[in-house]
Structures are given as C-alpha cells and as structure tokens.
C-alpha cells in the first residue's frame, strides 16, 4: 500500500511540530508528505525527493528512540534525506540534468510569472536548501544551521548570496508589473 500524497506546498507550521517519543508511524504519516515536499523544492526532483524521504524515514525508524526525542525530528529527516540524495553522484547528475523548478506539472504556469521559480531552480542545492529552510519552512538561522549541518554564519552568507542571485529576477518582475 502506498501513501499517495497530492499536496500543495505545505504550510511551514506542519514541519515545526515538536514531538517527544511518540510512535514512529504517527510521525511518518503526519510529516513524511511535508518532508517530501520540502525536499522536492530543494532538489527540484519529486521522484528523488520521494526516494530520499523514504530512505531518511527508514533511518529515522532505525534510530527512533533517539531521533524521536529531538526537538525537531523533521529537521533531522530533512537533513538525512538531503544528504542521501546528494551523496550519490547518479542523483547529483539527475539534479544537474533536470534542474526543474518546483514540480513537473505547472498547472498555473499560464497565469503565473515563473521567472523567480526558474531563478530559484538555477541556484545550487546548497543555496536552495537554505532558502527552503529559512523562507519556506520558516526555520530560524539556528534551526537551519542544525538541519543542514552548517554554521549559522554560513546560513546567513548562503542566504545572502542566494538572494543576491534572485534579486535581478525579482526586480525585473516588478518592473513588468
């Protein structure tokens, strides 16, 4: 049986739930879709995101007595999923070959200006991950640093560089508006 997820990008609060040593299956059902969605945005590949989520969740299950006690287990799962997806070059190659924006089915593309999406997709995965954690998931600098395994200063510098790359696209959209 598969858990079919047909979700719009989840509200950030769904990833901020702090849980204790609750049951893993409940955690999985509640948070796997949101993790998958965040990874899909980061990686630009929903299929890879699904694989990465399943892998990270499997590892979470193996260490649930520890991971389940974290303040933000979803951050751990997100990080493991991201690392797993990036650790195999085959997957990295897929990232390079298919740097799609936010999903394959752009049902709203005819009415939305997707220049910013495209610019976002052109960022490196490192920069995209910071953008997703800070602006999409609304994690703090510290939470983002913990989730990505980097220093808070790196979070800030990567976000600044990412925004610098996105700024011209946003400005051109404003001019057109």
């Amino acid at each position: 049986m598969e858990l079919a997820v047909e979700a719009t990008t989840p509200p950030p609060s769904t990833l901020e739930v702090t849980i204790g040593n609750g049951d893993f299956e409940g955690f999985y059902d509640r948070h796997a879709p949101a993790v998958a969605q965040a990874l899909a945005v980061t990686l630009g590949d929903p299929e890879l995101a699904a694989d990465a989520t399943a892998e990270a969740m499997t590892r979470a299950w193996q260490r649930w007595s520890k991971v389940g006690g974290y303040d933000n287990p979803t951050a751990w799962v997100y990080r493991v999923g991201l690392n797993w997806a990036r650790s195999w070059h085959r997957r990295r190659r897929r990232e390079r070959e298919r740097p799609v924006a936010l999903g394959p089915d752009r049902v709203e593309s005819e009415v939305r200006d997707d220049r910013l999406d495209a610019a976002l997709a052109s960022l490196s995965v490192d920069h995209r991950a910071v953008v997703v954690c800070r602006l999409h998931l609304d994690w703090s600098v510290g939470e983002t640093a913990d989730a990505l395994g980097i220093r808070p200063g790196t979070v800030k510098s990567r976000l600044a560089r990412a925004l610098a790359e996105l700024r011209p696209h946003a400005e051109s959209m404003e001019e057109d508006d």
Binding site: M1, E2, L3, A4, V5, E6, A7, T8, T9, F24, E25, Y28, D29, A32, P33, A36, Q37, V41, P46, A49, A50, T53, A54, T58, R59, W61, Q62, R63, S65, K66, V67, R79, V80, N83, W84, R86, S87, W88, H89, R90, R93, L102, G103, P104, D105, V107, E108, S109, R112, L116, D117, L120, V131, V132, L135, H136, L163, L166, A170, M173
Partner: protein, 554 residues
C-alpha cells in the same frame, strides 16, 4: 523580512501541486527491520570487501607499535589514512569524519611529509562527503588533483580535490558499459588516473553467495574452490557455486576521464580479475587467463586488454604470459605476478609466479625464481597481494599462511580465545576474541547487549568512526563511544596469516623487508627511500615507513 524574501516565499508557497508517492509507514518499518538484520556500514562493509578480496581478512595481532601514529593533542594531527598516494614530496590521503546518525561521512584530506605524521588540509569551501557503505574508495593523484573514487550502480564516481587550491572540484562521473552485477554489490578497489584516462579495478563484495544472507567473516577462493566462514562460526564451509565453480564476477574498466571518450570495459568471470596499473603517461590493465577474459570494447570486441596512453590505441605488453594478476611498471620495465601465487611442483624446480621484463620487448620475460626468498612449501602458502615499481626498485607484498594443506582455509577452531575489555565514556565492552561471547554494559554495570559470538569484522556490527579519535558502536538504541586507541589496544583479532614485504633492485633478486606484523591495508607507496604501508589493527590504520635497502653498485 525584506520584500525580496517575501517574493521568494510567495514563489515557493504558490507552487502548484507536486504529486509525490510515498510508501506506507508499514513498508518503511519493514524495510528498517530488514536493514537492521543485514545492513552494515563503514568498516563492516570494508572488512567484508577485504574478506572477499582474499587478502588476509585478519591481522596477526602484531604488537610492534614503532612508527604508529595516533591523534595527538594537536587537532590538526589526524589518524593515518587507510589509503594515500604520492604528490611531489608529500603523501596525500584521506580520513573520514562520520556521523552515525546520517550514515554519511565527510572526506577529510590529509597530507604527510614522512608517512608517519598526518595533518589535515585547510579546505577552502565546502567539504565533499561519501556514503561509507561504498568503501573502500581508493585515492590517486594526477597532477595537482586527487581523486577519491568508487562505484555506484553502473557508474564510476570520483570526488576530486585540487591540492594546490585546497578546494573540492566537480566530481567525475563515468558510466561503465557492460557492467554485469547480478544483483551483487560492486566495489572499487583500485583507481588509476593519468592524463585524462581513468582505470578502476572493481570487485563484488558484501554478499558472496546467492540466496544466503548470512554475514560472512571469512571468504576464501581458488579456481575450483569457494569457502565461507559465517560470522561466529569456527569452521569454513565449502560452497558449491550453482552452474559454475567461479566466484562472483570481477570487473576492470578503463575510460576517458574528461572528454567522455568511449569506455573500454573488461569483464572477467573468474577470480581475481584484472588490475589497472600506471605506466609513464598512460594506463595499463593486466589480464589473466586469456580464455577467461571477455572484452567489451566498443571499437573492437575481441582485442585483449593491455596498455594505452590515449584510451584508443592499445598494445599488449605481456606477450606469452597468460596468467597476469598484478603488474608494476617503471619506464619500459614490467613486473608481473601471476594469478595463483608462487608455486612449484617439486623441490628441484624453481618457485615460479613472478616474471620480469627488463625492456620494451613484449616477449622478453624472465622467470624469477622465488625459491631463495620463499623456500619450498607444499600447497599454496603464499598469495600475491600487491606490486609496486619505481626508481628505487620493486616491492612485492604477499601473504604467508601458517597452515598446511589448503592453507587459505585457516583452521579457525584452534585459535586460542583471549579475553578483552574496552572501556568508553559510558559503556564497557568485554568478552573473548576472536569470536567469543561478549557483553556491553553501561556505567552502572547493567547489561545493555550481549553477543553469543562477537567478531570485530562482522559486517553486521554497526561500528563507525566518529571523529576526534573515537569510534561509535551502535547497538539497538544505544550508541557506545570508545577511543580509537583503546579499541585498538583491546581488540586485535588473531589470525593465521602474515603479510610479508620483499624488495628487489633489479626485479630478479629479492630480499625480505622488516615489516611490523599485521594486515597491510591499502596500497604500498614508494616515497623518499622507503615503502610507506598502512597496517590495520583492530580496524585502525597505522602507517609505517619501511626503509628500502640502498643499492650496492660495487
């Protein structure tokens, strides 16, 4: 929050439906249970590969620590790497800083001027990572770029480190045509890079027998014999290979590194396969019995492997030799070790197995009589493991087995069991080695876990290096941390084999080198008048310099 950030947030948040199918939670938990039974990472996997290689799975429990290097109080001083290569006047290698939670390890580049003290590079930019389950990942240096390579699926991947700029470059990615895995894991064991050409030796590891998922702590193979020792067992079991007496498939591949040239892939259905080696400006691939080799060459499906400097034009350097296993090159000279190790039929015949070619003539091979070096033994007590050539001369690494008869299958049952105890910050592990009972207890003496048979090389043992000179043993919900040094001193499985080094100035006359007892792990590197070797003890690598005899020109 700036307007730009708001627009980015809006762009992401307004993204349309992304259909993602995830497995049900029951499937995740079932997968986790299966993995807990079987999976293991890092050194467990590496140990399994070593076993499959047939290169002395265990050490002899050496006690000579001369030259061994441990992490000191200086944070920049690192444990010795398991593999390294020469770069100008220094040696470069890598260690892993693993996070047991994430099953991912940061590649920490290290360098040494003497092969004894290793220091880390101050890396500019992001570090590269690898999944430790792919180990071993050999390292080579070409120019100012170090490659750390491995095989995943049908691809050869190499992380590349610019030694001059101290920064990681875009990784190399080569597809390997014709790779037949038969569901087995494929592992890179040797990597060679020269002038845009890449060669890799691979072999199948991790699981050795179809339909049997038992963790294997001993593996032996010959042309007509395969035997395994399940972890915890005291005897080897001879195994019938269905349909063929040969062990899993071995593969060697050669490809263009930078220009995406067509790949030449050599597959070998028999053990131990082909070995790439370095020639000046190019790459060679040793071959074994021609009748057993199948060459998948996109330009010529029947040409034998040999040597190339451009990846397109190949020559056969072996002439009449058909049992090539290992090859070393220096200029036009070649040294070849045959597949079956040194052997002779009777005492009045030379001990053969090693061949030397003094010049460019591919038919001018001199049979080296190893009798003076090895003496006469019945059976096959020695196995060739590595050959190295250079301006200093030639070094041969071989394994010597103490047992008689079929010495590859050690009589494990007669090994004496010895008690051990290793104490970490919160837990104490104690028991008997090499594979007796063991217990893990917490600080209060409460039993956390017990093993009926504890083997340090059991691939199911979840033992991960965690940086800072520590190892983490994960058992159920517990993660017990021990220092490398304590683990090493307490846990050194005894064995029935010895690694031996021999040296020759001219490829013909050989003498033994003094070598600390233990398993030689990784390549041997000639550097500044010495052979630098890594000896593994209790999974912890120690590097040694073995001085080479000076040439006597009189």
């Amino acid at each position: 929050m700036t307007m730009l950030e708001d627009r980015v947030r809006e762009a992401i948040g307004a993204s349309p439906v992304i259909p993602i199918s995830l497995p049900a939670s029951e499937e995740i938990t079932a997968r986790g249970r299966r993995r807990q039974r079987r999976q293991r990472i890092v050194l467990g996997a590496a140990g399994a590969v070593v076993l499959v290689v047939g290169v002395l799975a265990f050490t002899t429990g050496g006690r000579n620590d001369d030259g061994a290097v441990f992490a000191g109080t200086d944070d920049s001083i690192f444990l010795a790497p398991a593999t390294y290569a020469v770069h100008g006047d220094v040696l470069v290698g890598y260690t892993l800083e693993a996070d047991p939670d994430e099953m991912s390890a940061q590649i920490q580049m290290v360098e040494s001027r003497n092969g004894l003290v290793w220091r880390s590079f101050d890396v500019v930019g992001a570090h590269a990572h690898l999944d430790p389950s792919i180990l071993p990942a050999p390292i080579v240096v070409d120019g100012d770029v170090a490659y750390v390579g491995w095989v995943v699926d049908d691809r050869l991947v190499a992380e590349r480190f610019d030694l001059a700029e101290r920064t990681w470059l875009e990784p190399l990615d080569l597809r390997i045509d014709g790779l037949e895995r038969d569901g087995e894991r494929v592992t890179a064991t040797r990597l060679v890079v020269r002038r845009g050409l890449v060669a890799v030796r691979m072999m199948v590891g991790g699981r050795v027998i179809e339909g049997d998922d038992r963790p294997i702590c001993g593996f032996e193979s010959a042309m007509d014999l395969v035997a395994i020792r399940p972890c915890g067992a005291t005897e080897f079991e001879e195994v019938e290979m269905p349909g063929s007496p040969t062990p899993p498939r071995i593969v060697a591949a050669v490809g263009g590194a930078e220009r995406d040239a067509p790949l030449l892939v050599v597959t070998d259905s028999t053990y131990p396969g082909s070995t790439p080696y370095v020639i000046d400006g190019g790459i060679g691939v040793g071959r074994r019995n021609g009748a057993c080799v199948r060459v998948c060459d996109p330009t010529d499906g029947s040409s034998p492997p040999g040597e190339t400097t451009d990846g397109e034009t190949w020559v056969d350097p072996f002439g009449p030799l058909t049992q090539v296993n290992l090859v070393a090159a220096h200029g036009e000279q070649r040294l070849v070790a045959e597949n079956f190790g040194p052997r002779r039929i009777s005492e009045d015949q030379p001990v053969s197995g090693l061949w030397f070619r003094p010049g460019p003539d591919p038919d001018d091979w001199v049979a080296v009589d190893l009798g003076p070096l090895l003496g006469f033994r019945t059976g096959r007590p020695e196995v060739f493991n590595d050959l190295v050539g250079g301006p200093e001369g030639w070094v041969l690494h071989y394994a010597r087995f103490a047992a008689t008869g079929t010495p590859q299958i050690a009589d494990v049952s007669r090994i004496d069991f010895e008690p051990f105890i290793v104490t970490g910050s919160d837990y104490t592990l104690s028991g008997t080695l090499p594979f007796g009972e063991a217990t893990l207890r917490n600080r209060d003496g409460e039993l956390v876990h017990e093993w009926a048979h504890f083997e340090p090389f059991d691939p199911d043992l979840d033992l991960v290096p965690t940086g800072g000179g520590t190892l983490t043993l994960s058992v159920e919900a517990v993660q017990a941390e021990f220092s490398w040094a304590d683990w090493t001193s307490a846990i050194e499985p005894g064995v029935d084999a010895t690694a031996v080094l021999a040296f020759s100035h001219n490829g013909v006359d050989w003498e033994h080198l003094e070598l600390p007892e233990g398993l030689i792990q990784g390549p041997i590197v000639l550097h500044d008048g010495a052979a630098v070797v890594t000896v593994s003890r209790g999974r912890v690598p120690h590097t040694f310099r073995v001085p080479l005899p000076e040439r006597d020109d009189n």
